[in-house]
Structure formats: structure tokens, C-alpha cells
Amino acid sequence: MINSRDILETINMIDNENLDVRTITMGISLLDCIDEDIDKACTKVYDKICRYAEDLVKTGEDISKDYGIPIIHKRIAVTPIAMLAAACPAKSPVKFALTLDEAAKKVGVNFVGGYSALVHKGFAGGDYALIESIPEALSITERVCSSVNIGSTKAGINMDAVAKMGHVIRKSAELTADRDCIGAAKLVVFCNAPEDNPFMAGAFHGPGEPDCVINVGVSGPGVVRAALAKAGDCNITEVADIVKKTAFKITRAGMLVAKEASKRLSVPFGIVDLSLAPTPAIGDSVAYILEEMGLEQCGAHGTTACLALLNDAVKKGGVMASSHVGGLSGAFIPVTEDAGMIEAARSKALTLTKLEAMTAVCSVGLDMIAIPGDTPADVISGIIADEAAIGMVNSKTTAVRLIPAIGKEAGEELSFGGLLGSGPIMDVNPKSPSRFISRGGRIPAPMQSLKN
């Protein structure tokens, strides 16, 4: 029989500590929808998504009710659209974005990811046109998310793509300036992008994935913080153990949901992404975990060490709880989506340079950071290049999701509402990397890539 204390612990986690399964993401391959006639391709895309994901939202809601655990998002990731756009070079790929948006609305998911291109070694047919079209696509759609992979440990960093993405991010913000520049919040630039990531905005269904798959992203920073608070003044080894045990429990809940969703939808289970994904809700913050470990405020010296411990312990706890682990798997540090990070950025305890250091040891990168509206494109490209270099050398995923706040300056605020949150505009080093960025070419793959 189940122990009463365990039952009450689970209920307390759900009621008071924001335990939830963050997302069930259905990955759908669109490779069989490729057609040289863009209208035919779009019809196939729409039909396939609606057919496969017809019951996704309802199934997610049913599972949530049966197990009493909230499942926040039901989402879809598709094959990078650049691969479909390659077959119809004369047409603007924006039509695909509109189709994805319509399909997302039809099946009731709040985001569909995959308006993407993989250009880490260079541009293939369709890639450049897709990247060019991203700002327009994100401004005229509501639920479409976009990502571009510009580097990898194996391939190095495509500096032509880095230079281009500086402009694309700026333009995405400019075209949505009347909506707090939200276009840029739906665009991620990756190095070492995972093909099975269930989290937005960077989810896409990689070419190596099966026809259809269910990936689940877990969450629960509030639960980890509460467990540490209960433990009091223990030493740091014990802190790591508490995080591991808690991550195990959180991930097991995610694994159960993943198995059940896979069974009910008759779609193979892919992976569980072991992530601590914060929300702007008070008590659901990764920054608060770091502060619980003993920092006066997130961003203080010691933050990187605490985050390294947290990220590692989350993985160690989670990996045994799931039969397949993948995606990003680690602690996220999106500034505008984390109450503690927002406070730390407002008080200037947390700066962009500290965040860059933190990304070397956490799961993703510079995420949801508002920067001054007059930041030049080549400075944004410089930030992307730095971040990609950290990912490339450390054989890890890094990403950049910056929001140039058009018409605003450092110290003012942007507010997206909902899970994307709000936050202060952070200072950026104004010195120009222009000559470096304009050189173009490719940064060679590092020694770490030669593992064979």
C-alpha cells in the first residue's frame, strides 16, 4: 500500500509548490508533405497535423484529470520548414507559417514549433529564403515559433548565419514593435540544437526522428526550492542529494504522463526532457532555488557554481526516472519568465555578462532577455557568436532569445503577459564587433569534435 506521507507530499507539491508537467509535445514529420506546388504542400501539412494531433489536447486534459497533475501545455513540433520550402524555391515560405498557425488553432495547441532551418555548416536550398521570411512569418502569425541552428560542435559556427540572424532578430522585433516586440520572443538561435526538444520556442522535429512521437517536458522549480527550504542548513553535498531525489520524483510523474499519452494516442514515446522550467508565478522560479542555496540574490558571485550543481543534480536524479531522456534537460534561466530573475535584473544584481557565464553550466542559454531597442544588429550577432562558442566548445546546447525593445532604453520594461512574462531591459556592451561579424565564413569545429 502507498504510504500516507507520500500521498500528502505529492498533493502538497501540486497544490502549493507548482508541480506540473510543463508540456506534452507531439513531434510530426512533414517530410512526406514535400511538394513543388506550395499550395499542395500546405494542404498536406494542414491535413497531416490536424489528423495526427486531433486528440492531443483532449488526451492531455484527460490524463491531467486522471492523475490529478496539471499538464500546462499541449504543443506540436514539426520538421524544419526550410526542408519543405526547398522544393518550392519561387514562393515565399510564409505560406507555410500561415498554414501551421491555422492548424495549431484547429487542434487547439498554443504553439507550434518548426519554422526552422539548420544551417550550422552552410545554407542549403530553402534555408536562406526561410530565414529571410522569419520576421514577417512571426509578425503575421500568433502561434508559430521559429528557430535556426547556426553552429555545432561537429561543424563549427556558420558566421554568415550569425551575421544574418542579428538582422533577423532586430527585424522580428521591429515588425511587432506595437506588441512589445513579441516576434523576437518566438525566435531562438541555437548552437547544437536538439532534435527532440519539447520546449518552445526552440522545438522542432529533427530529420532523424520517427514519423510521429510524443515528447514530454517536466518542470517543478518550486518543488526543488521547497525541499531545500525544509532541509535548512545542511552542507552542499546534502543539497545536491535533495535536488536529485526531488528531480527523480518530478521526472517519474513526467514519465508516467508520457507513457500514458503515448498509449492513448497510439504514438511512440520519444523522450522526457528533464528540465526545471520556471514561470513568472511566485514560487516557480529557478533563481529562488539558487537563493535558497545561500545567495543573497541571483547574480551574486557564487551563482554559476550553484547553477552548475543544480543542473547536474537535476540530470542525475531525472535520468534514472525515465527510460529515454533527451531534449534540453537541465535548468532553464529565461529572465522574463522567472520572478526571481526579473527581480535580480531589476536590481542589477544580474547582468548580461553574468548570465553569459551561467549559460556555460545550465541547459540552454541567453533566454528571454530584453535589450535596448537601439542595439545594432552586429552587436546582437556578437552576442550570438559568443553564446554559440560556449556551446560548441562545451559540446552542449546553447541558445539566444533576445528581444530588442524597439523605442525603449535600458531600465525600462517589456511585458508580454502570460508565460512569457515581463522584465527590465538590460544593458548591453555598446562596443562594436562589426568588423569581426562582417568577415563571414565559418569558425572551424574545435578539437572536441574529433572523438572518433
Partner: protein
């Protein structure tokens, strides 16, 4: 198949009776109950076998949640697998 019903909140007359009555109306068989009142706070954990339940599980969840709201207590009805998954290896 077992479900776990937990009731937490301010003690009142007839909480256990009302919850048990709801269960019997839909054919959910009570297997085990532990209940205590500490400093006026009522806490009950009830295991029910829902194999013979005459309504879909989600309906049972709704009925009992509603009943809890009427009585001013928080009622959770959850499939036992969630607890097994989180607390057993």
C-alpha cells in the same frame, strides 16, 4: 484499479459520510480509510476500487471536487499510479 481520495480541511460533521455516500452511489468500493483530526484540521486518505465504477473516472473526480467545495474542504481524487510512480522504484 484503485483511486486515492484525499480530503483536507476544517473539520465538520459528516465529511466521511458524505464522501463515502458519493462513492457508493457510483459503485466505487472503499478498500481502506485512514482519517485523523489534528487541531481542528480534518485529514483523510481513502483508497477506493473503481473497477466496478458506473461513471467515467473524470466524472467521479468532478462530483467529489464539487462535494468538497460544498463542505469547504479540499478533495483530490487521483489514480494511484501517480503515487506509485513518484515514490516507488
Amino acid at each position: 484499479m484503485n483511486a486515492v481520495i484525499t480530503v483536507l480541511g476544517k473539520d465538520n460533521v459528516g465529511i466521511l459520510a458524505k464522501v463515502s455516500n458519493e462513492c457508493s452511489l457510483v459503485g466505487a468500493n472503499i478498500v481502506e480509510v485512514t482519517q485523523s483530526v489534528l487541531q481542528g484540521m480534518f485529514a483523510m486518505i481513502m483508497f477506493v476500487d473503481i473497477t466496478e465504477c458506473t461513471v467515467p473516472f473524470s466524472e467521479l473526480v468532478d462530483k467529489l471536487t464539487e462535494k468538497g467545495d460544498e463542505m469547504g474542504v479540499k478533495i483530490h481524487v487521483m489514480h494511484e499510479d501517480i503515487f506509485n510512480a513518484m515514490h516507488k522504484i
